[in-house]
Symmetry: C2
Subunit: 339 residues, 2 copies
């Protein structure tokens, strides 16, 4: 069975690999007719597109856990949308789904790669953030990678970002005795306090290690790293014996042309028996039902808050991505398309 529907879609393509910070001219918005539906496929009109730090790495031509973006091909990323047409038994027109063919207005994909989302629990945009990969990253990172224990003191960097803001709140809900967050603007620091962080600081005010020592005079047990660099070095200084580091992101380094020379104090990990472990949510999809139930409940009950920074229109996607890399977002950065 094939579809007779024909729509015109616009999609963002990478047309030049950035050297250092990406520039608007590295991207082009191009028209493309989605392919005809094959059996088992659906046509989705995207409502929200996700722009995430990890996408910067996919713009480089280096091997990684996902292949680099191809030049002059549509980029990919998280998206939620509504099924317009279905050639699959499992989905019907009008269903809302989350999938990975973002950066475009319309997507054609196998129904098995589209996950239905429950609009009764939260607005659909939440499935790109607090109830999506972002939230699962925070949840699995604390539960498994950090093996969070009751009473732990937790430090999270990029704490006003999509992952960080969830990490801090979840850590408290999961039994941490103290949660400290760092961010790069005073209004973000104020938001962290409003979210119930025990302490928060603006990393631009003074050296991270000094501010962290003041906030955690008895040291920290878990460091959730979204930033790398100076933050990771400060955390290694302050970590208590048997401390755990969740290596989730190093946004401070994504645009670096030369590799960053840090941390200079990794040797401390020996005597303090610190564990550092890289985290990707993809290893923890088995947690998703438990995550949706527990975290969905926290959101519904108002115990866990999230924020979104929204850019409107497909045209705004690259700039939203660049703004997010520069810290212009609070919470999850999203691009909203006309509903």
């Amino acid at each position: 069975m094939t579809s007779g529907t024909s729509v015109t879609s616009r999609e963002w393509q990478l047309i030049a690999r950035p050297h250092g910070a990406p520039r608007p001219g590295d991207f082009a918005l191009r028209e493309a007719a989605p392919p005809a539906l094959r059996d088992g496929q659906v046509l989705v009109r995207n409502l929200y597109l996700s722009v995430d730090p990890y996408m910067r790495r996919r713009m480089d031509d280096v091997p990684s856990y996902v292949p680099p973006f191809q030049l002059d091909q549509p980029m990919e990323g998280g998206a939620v949308g509504i099924v317009m047409e279905s050639a699959a038994d499992s989905l019907a027109a009008g269903d809302y789904v989350q999938h990975m063919l973002g950066w475009r207005e319309y997507a054609v994909l196998d129904a098995e790669n589209a996950t239905p989302v429950d609009r009764a629990l939260a607005p659909v945009s939440a499935y790109l953030g607090a109830l999506g990969v972002t939230g699962l990253t925070a949840y699995a990172g604390l539960l498994r990678t950090a093996a969070l224990k009751s009473g732990d003191v937790v430090f999270v960097s990029g704490a006003a970002g999509a992952v960080g803001s969830q990490v801090g709140q979840m850590a408290t809900l999961m039994g941490a005795s103290r949660v400290i967050g760092s961010a790069g603007a005073d209004d973000k620091v104020a938001l962290l306090r409003a979210y119930g962080f025990s302490d928060a600081f603006n990393y631009r005010d003074a050296p991270v290690v000094d501010q962290l020592r003041r906030a955690a005079p008895e040291g920290i047990d878990v460091y959730f790293d979204n930033v790398g660099g100076e933050h990771l070095e400060a955390a290694l200084d302050l970590l208590n014996p048997h401390g755990r580091v969740v290596l989730c992101g190093m946004i401070a380094q994504y645009n670096d042309v030369e590799p960053a020379a840090a941390p200079r104090n990794l040797i401390l990990a020996i005597n303090k028996r610190i564990r550092l472990q890289g985290l990707l949510a993809r290893d923890h999809t088995d947690l998703r039902p438990r995550f949706l139930s527990e975290v969905g409940g926290w959101i519904r009950d108002g115990k866990l808050r999230y924020q979104e920074t929204i850019a409107d229109g497909i045209e705004s996607a690259p700039q939203a991505f660049l703004d997010m890399l520069a810290g212009g977002n609070t919470g999850k950065m999203l691009v909203r398309l006309p509903g």
Copy 2:
């Protein structure tokens, strides 16, 4: 009960904190009469003294898992000796014991801090190396910290050293499919081949990352790090997804005045979900019975070999320590006292 015995002992004291590489003038050999025995104590004449990389860190006045050496006080370290006099029920004159009051000819200590050694299994010196903390470090590091799995490809640096030489051989005995070692001299590389390492290279010959890539074209699963610096960076490049790094030592950096700026590629740990974990044998003393039984059996059956580099006489201890830091030893570096 107090002892009437009176002996004169010589002991090494740290008299100046080294800045960078220690110098012979930082140490002084001084006479001291051991204190009279109190109830529950023994007087031990030391037969072998251990000099180990970690002692360099204790010469700096920085907080660590063991307090720094105090100036003008006897230094401490592993030793084996014979009980000369006992005021404890558990030990008798003539018993051989391992304890931590090295760097001296005679030691007085509580019997509970002296562990009897079985001379039927191996010569007493082995209890400072292959059957001592050194061997337990290798064993626990592979079994627990690396969680070694059958078929893993293992890379170990400092592979002709006390810990490294045991790691490589044990890894094979524990199911590794391939074991690669690096060392800093051609005769050491030859020894590794004689020990049955799958491959070995001299890190001074060419960049570590190039030699490691040649030796492990399909990557490595476990890196046992005794060296830090360039070796750790190369290992991160070559580690396969879900690889594990045992952070055991960073001898390349112990004399550094400025902290080393490496590894520059820790960011790879995220996408490859690499785990790095600091290791101290003291966390794994519960393994000791199993270790003595299994590793003692391997040694007795000739499946596990070890080597010692021996310096004679209490006078030689600081130079033995300096030689060991500079890589002058093969296998375990020991100071032998007249029996």
